[in-house]
Subunit: 152 residues, 2 copies
């Protein structure tokens, strides 16, 4: 099997044996070099955002001193949830290799598949409400006018 | 205007004037009490995941010592991107009030709208690849058998 996926599985196994969170490990690789290894720490950190991929992005960003992880690939034991997928897109990760798919992940009790459904605009009206758009547009306008911004 | 949205705007303004990141501030409220205020720090922290809502979740989770933010509402200057929306769902936030919508956010140079498109399964085949599913299913099975797990 793939050696980076094996590392991701080992990371995940360490995590579940410690009770840190779900069975999700992730390894970020650039030019054949491991940049970051991490696993899910939702329970350990008491923070719902601490998925394996997110922890790996944090570590890789710190190591490379950049929010831009272009040229990096990630190996992750479970197909990324919408949070992690979008985080990987924001970070410009170029390829995502996953082991189990979202339905496999649903089968062990996680809500990823449901959240993919909810992410579609037409299903989320009850949860998400627009408010004070005009005042916020003024803020956006102030931002737009700032020169020499760093795009991301 | 809504007082919590005003706080979110003020947070965002502080952030853009510091050069911390985009014009995105967020306030988490529970039973009328402000639990966390935060703003985008992607540039400041060199980390693509540091959106306003994510930073607010980190702070609220720390304050409440829990990954479960049930009963909390969030006020955010921009409609959450798929990463933040899903993070808010994982955290069980019960209501999301946003100012500008994703198209407004696209108009000031951000990729949220594009990422909503890419989050739909049928568009992401080139980026996301299955690998070593069987080995990962064994890991999932080990997790399934652990007794007294904390669900999240």
């Amino acid at each position: 099997m793939n050696k980076y996926m094996r590392m991701a599985i080992n990371e995940a196994r360490k995590g579940i044996r410690n009770g840190d969170g779900g069975p999700f490990g992730a390894v970020i690789v650039k030019d054949g070099k491991v940049i970051a290894k991490a696993h899910n720490q939702v329970i350990k950190n008491s923070d719902a955002t601490c998925h394996g991929e997110m922890m790996a992005i944090h570590k890789a960003s710190k190591k490379l001193h950049s929010f831009d992880l272009s040229g990096c690939e990630i190996y992750t034991t479970g197909e990324p949830c919408p949070m992690c997928l979008s985080a990987l897109l924001w970070a410009n990760i170029s390829k995502i290799y996953y082991g189990c798919n979202v339905l496999d992940t649903e089968n062990i009790g996680f809500r990823d598949a449901k959240f993919y459904e909810l992410s579609k605009a037409e299903h989320r009206n009850e949860l998400v409400v627009e408010l004070d758009r005009k005042a916020c547009l003024k803020l956006y306008e102030e931002y737009r006018k700032i020169k020499d911004k760093t795009p991301y």
